[in-house]
């Protein structure tokens, strides 16, 4: 009974968190589902987005501008990973690890050599202390803004996938040979995908930092696995529903994921145990054979 009541108490915040993390899951969806690229840059670009937003908010920047700056920083990180992979021909996994590792130091520097940045309760962020949040019903304002932000990203992403550039990205994931046949450099399309993906990841990091009013150097640890779990959860659980867009499935997957984590904590797990929960959940998803099938066929060289 006590488990249930504390779970119910944690539920709204879990949904809120799920929504904010869903933006990151959408980014990972691009690298993993579309490009078939296991991109570990994510573990570094998520805190990168957070530290950029946190610093700019501390300096009194408009929260929307801070978000844009986070996204831009993420795109830059994705660009570097892409260049390392495409131009220097380093394996996909290693390219991401290299940039992730470098980002640890860069994030620390950006935070002013501090592992923790806290924003004062009064700071104006996208989710709190702003004119929009003030007119929304108290207690639900962050949830509503988070919902709105995620759906704005979803709609933009859906639109993007209907553009010429978006079509090429889809083609790259569907049948890489087609990209070559269309006289395009596969590498360029990959770089574009990595940039968009990491922009979304960093945007998510910025959102989380603005919501939680803090940046913490290790907040990106396990970000990639967490997002992957969300993507796989959403795509498989809702796979049957043909009419639902993949982006919506991923968002729901991310929310469900955070709800499961909240449940685990309500059952008595400590926040420090979260990573093991993440790993266990991910393992469960993989072992249950929920891995997306048919997504990735590699056309031979």
């Amino acid at each position: 009974m006590q488990i249930l009541s504390s779970f119910a108490l944690a539920l709204p915040s879990a949904v809120e968190q799920g929504l904010l993390y869903a933006v990151m899951a959408l980014g990972v969806m691009i690298t993993y589902l579309v490009l078939d690229f296991p991109d570990l840059t994510v573990d570094g670009s998520f805190p990168l987005g957070a530290v950029v937003s946190a610093r700019l908010i501390l300096a009194g920047t408009n929260p929307l501008l801070a978000m844009a700056a986070s996204a831009l920083a993420g795109a830059l990180a994705g660009l570097v990973t892409g260049l390392i992979h495409v131009k220097l021909k380093v394996r996909d996994l290693f390219s991401g690890i290299i940039v992730m590792t470098a980002l640890y130091s860069i994030n620390l520097r950006l935070a002013g050599d501090s592992a923790l940045l806290s924003l004062p309760r009064t700071s104006i962020t996208l989710l709190r202390n702003n004119p929009v949040a003030d007119i929304l019903p108290r207690g639900y304002s962050t949830l509503i803004i988070a919902l709105f932000a995620v759906f704005a990203v979803k709609v933009l992403l859906d639109l993007f996938f209907k553009t010429r550039a978006g079509f090429l990205l889809r083609a790259a994931g569907d049948n890489p040979q087609m990209v070559t046949a269309l006289a395009r450099d596969k590498g360029q399309v990959k770089i574009l995908g990595l940039m968009i993906a990491n922009a979304l990841v960093a945007l998510s990091g910025g959102l989380v930092a603005q919501e939680q009013r803090m940046f913490e150097i290790s907040m990106g640890t396990g970000a990639m696995v967490l997002s992957l779990a969300s993507v796989i959860l959403g795509v498989n659980l809702l796979g049957k529903i043909e009419k639902m867009s993949v982006t919506l499935k991923v968002i729901i997957g991310a929310v469900l994921y955070k709800i499961s984590v909240a449940f685990a904590i309500a059952c008595g797990l400590k926040p420090g145990d979260l990573k093991v929960v993440t790993a266990a959940l991910f393992l469960l998803i993989l072992a249950a054979g929920l891995f997306p099938k048919g997504g990735k066929k590699h056309a031979g060289p």
């Binding site: 209907k162 010429r164 079509f167 049948n175 070559t180 046949a181 269309l182």
Partner: protein, 257 residues
């Protein structure tokens, strides 16, 4: 139009699996020629096409297009002028995209990669006009996913897509081999009319000796990385199936096929 000049190619050099395929191999396909290539399995037909398309680099020798050295040019740059159809019909379109989306995709081949809408609804009538003559009913199922099409339908779509934007060469690698005989005939017929209509240079590798003799104005037979038969125009027309089959069996026996 396309030429290979004194090509040398060895697979897995310096290993136990070392396999010298081409030694001083040359082939010149003039503009407008329609060349059929036959040969036993492993005779190097696909490797030859890969060299022409740029998915394989020779150890020595040159690749020429319209007299220009393109040996160092990457595959996607060559694809501006070369269209390629593979044996597997799935290679020529995107399974998860609709017929309409696939056509829009290939229609944007020479255009900028930008944020304009990929599908232009105004083109739908034109797409239908392109698909209707195939007689496969594709024009009435523009919203169907390419992955749900039959092999023949999908190969027809691939052909339409490859020839939608101007190309100077069409390369076909056993593109009817995965189809049942009747569908293969349909696709072969479509291929032939496409090549004539657009006046493109074509290189068609086929296992079907009948097709090789009936279509095109030159025939080449390959064996172990060498050309063992090369006849054009009247000489090709004078060739009898029995003679080609005889030669084919001779070399096939030799390599144990």
């Amino acid at each position: 139009m396309l030429a290979l000049e004194r090509i040398h190619l060895t697979y897995n050099p310096g290993t136990v699996r070392e396999m010298g395929l081409f030694r001083d191999f040359s082939l010149d396909v003039p503009q407008g020629q329609y060349l059929s290539v036959v040969g036993s399995n492993g005779s190097g037909k696909t490797s030859m096409l890969n060299l022409l398309c740029g998915s394989l680099m020779p150890d020595a020798g040159r690749v020429l297009m319209a007299g220009k050295d393109i040996t160092g040019q990457s595959e996607h740059v060559r694809a501006r002028n070369i269209g390629r159809i593979h044996q597997n019909p799935a290679m020529g379109s995107c399974a998860g995209m609709s017929i309409l989306e696939n056509l829009a995709l290939s229609g944007s081949k020479q255009k900028k990669m930008n944020l304009l809408p990929a599908v232009d609804r105004k083109q739908v009538a034109r797409y239908k006009e392109m698909l209707a003559p195939l007689g496969l009913g594709l024009e009435n199922m523009l919203e169907a996913r390419a992955g749900n099409l039959s092999g023949g339908q999908r190969q027809a779509l691939a052909l339409i897509m490859a020839a939608m934007t101007p190309i100077s060469c069409l390369i076909l690698d056993e593109h009817t081999a995965a189809l049942d005989p009747k569908t293969a005939d349909t696709i072969m017929h479509l291929t032939d009319s496409l090549i004539h209509e657009k006046g493109i240079t074509a290189i068609m590798v086929t296992h079907n000796l009948r097709y090789a003799l009936d279509y095109g104005n030159r025939i080449v037979m390959m064996h172990q990385g060498q050309i063992v038969l090369d006849e054009s125009d009247e000489n090709k027309q004078a060739l009898r199936l029995e003679k080609v089959l005889g030669l084919f069996n001779e070399i096939s026996v030799e390599c144990g096929n």
